[in-house]
Symmetry: C2
Amino acid sequence: MSSPRIVICGAGFGGLTAARTLGEWFSRSRRAGNLLLIDKENYHLFQPLLYQVATAGLSGPDIAVPIRSILRRFPQIIVRMDDIRGFDLQKEEVLLEGGAVPYDYLVLALGAITGYFGHATWSEHASGLKALSDAHQIRNQLLLAFEEAESTEDLRKREELLTVVVVGGGPTGVELAGAIAELARRVLRRDFRRIDPTKARILLIEAGSRLLTQFPERLGRIAEQKLRGLGVDVRLFSPVQDLRERSVVLAAETIRTATILWAAGVSPHPLAASLPVPRDRSGRLLVLPDLSLPGHRNVFAIGDMVSVPGVPAIAPAAMQMGRHVAGVIIRDLGPGTARPENRDPFHYRDKGMMATIGRAAAVAWIGRAAFNGPVAWFAWLAIHLAFLIGFRNKVSVLFEWTWAYLTYRPGARILLRSEGTGRPKRRSPSASSRIEDRPGTSGSSR
Amino acid sequence: MSSPRIVICGAGFGGLTAARTLGEWFSRSRRAGNLLLIDKENYHLFQPLLYQVATAGLSGPDIAVPIRSILRRFPQIIVRMDDIRGFDLQKEEVLLEGGAVPYDYLVLALGAITGYFGHATWSEHASGLKALSDAHQIRNQLLLAFEEAESTEDLRKREELLTVVVVGGGPTGVELAGAIAELARRVLRRDFRRIDPTKARILLIEAGSRLLTQFPERLGRIAEQKLRGLGVDVRLFSPVQDLRERSVVLAAETIRTATILWAAGVSPHPLAASLPVPRDRSGRLLVLPDLSLPGHRNVFAIGDMVSVPGVPAIAPAAMQMGRHVAGVIIRDLGPGTARPENRDPFHYRDKGMMATIGRAAAVAWIGRAAFNGPVAWFAWLAIHLAFLIGFRNKVSVLFEWTWAYLTYRPGARILLRSEGTGRPKRRSPSASSRIEDRPGTSGSSR
């Protein structure tokens, strides 16, 4: 293969790491070849800080970097913003909204979406937190609830508006509940005249016996204590029976609330189900030890789409997988025409995991050692800053954090309620981007 | 009036200045009273920098500050986020979405919206730039046009996508055209593989004989030269005959383009037309010299809603009007029971005006003196930073400017195309905010 065509689908942590590793190898080895990186957005999103966009601490561009900008120094990499429709593994083609693209190597790195355990209607009542639009939507919902509580005369309704329920006691749920508690109790404290935001009820609902089940038990208990200290009503052993319009149904009680946030589960990208590959119970792809798909030596899947025993669904794991797959492809393409028969299996190097619980508190589980308190919090800050892509973003986030820490007045408390509604619907880019393909629809209906 | 009720509608430059001036007076004089400030958003928007949000230089929260946060130290001021439905000047009530509010004094400061000279359909084809949602919409449209141009095979369509038409040669049009030219020629230059963003056509269409008619002729010519130097195709004497789907019709030619931006006119807020008050040809209210409405001594109108001879529709004028009206009300409420019969008329103090044309170029007209070049540009930077509310915002904008100046890589090139479309429509806050009022609609239709 003198000029191999490599297609990477998804520019999250896994896909981007694979692209960079391959781009560097192409540059260094002066090999011909082309690498196409496809994503439905024009930016790479630093998901670990998404909850801070949702809770008005950061703004979107702080944690999103244009993919083209990240990869501009690799001439072999072509970035394409497009919607992936499917894959034809027989013809070796990726089917895009804008046509089919052939590949010699394919890397699937499409990540996960919010999953509701098969309860289709629950998504109507509870917002997940996977995309930047989710974060903006949650921010609007939270800020608007306080605004409406301030202006309503109906006390029952006010109580509903001042109740926030976070479902799921994993890292996302813990971080969201902590950040919302701080928003209400410290940030918005003096902003209102008729309501007292510090009286807002924030509930964290968890089905199991403790929070942060991926962490050692002690750290889960510490997180629980810290959250209770911030005024969060932590409910363990409380599986959700049903989500309805403005209410969360538990076995013992039904909680009336204007804001339900869902942090209880994710599903792999829906396209995972379209592949002729075995999947685990939650729908994640079961891959071979080298991360290729069974029966398709030139197709790999990485990150939150796949299930590899002992590997958690976190950014460092996706990045390691991306690097591994790039290495396998590089060795395949390396000097000599014979491709190696035996490929190295993927080995996960556990760098630990961590979660923050509001101001100056965090838990970390690194190399079999448990940390908490300010040390863990500083480690969390430093590691997240270090991995955030782009110097501009690092400076901007560091400034926002310092400012918010000193003043309790984070910068992004902006309610974009006219977003997408102030103008006629057809002007939304996702609609207009497809208009030209269907000339028949471009007439009076718009 | 021992405890006067003052209602200010609109938290732009005029309304906010009036509120602050009155808030300070209430605090200083220890008078009882309450002041209600109503806005449809929860933030004050620094409109002079809106074009930089539209052209990916700044992000929304950089130029938007929560109103409650600005006014939190004034206990007499109540901030309410609500939609104003109308005014009953006989009953002395403001009619809100959430009920009627009585007033003793009313200040109307609702500003302006994009105006299309009565061509109702033009708004479907051309985006204006008055609200934060407009800026986000334009940013998405611009970035998406380049993305689509990169992926299309159709050369005619590619040309359309790489053509941007700005209509209107006033300060907004000049600043937009200059910033878009820089975005294409300097920022996006190396980001694409198949298209060359530096070949994008940017046209600035002006009906009259020159740009910046509010400025001295020489500055208009300098702005024109600077724009041409940036590659902008400036068309004078070119009134728009019609705007259609993806095309701008001029007398001599029809320009095919995917992006039409409208900077040719504004209209006063639609509620201006509902008031029993004479208006000028463009619909702006004609007020008495003290800025009160004829026949309504306790109702004032300020800012872009009103027409006062010799006063331009710019932020400093609105702020001066806000301060003037606050002063009139304060003297009315001052010691003694007799209100002054004669009120001071409003006098505009001309502090000058300025416009930037891309990097290190600007024109300024200050105290009958014309400036241009780097001096004017630095003055522009300094003055805009000085007037931007909030220390956090000043630092953040200064950092973004410095960064973009040094690197040509501004931070907000994020295409939020899933914003408002990724989730079911009913979750948009402006929709959900009204749901509770109409229980009958909350069923299966959503």
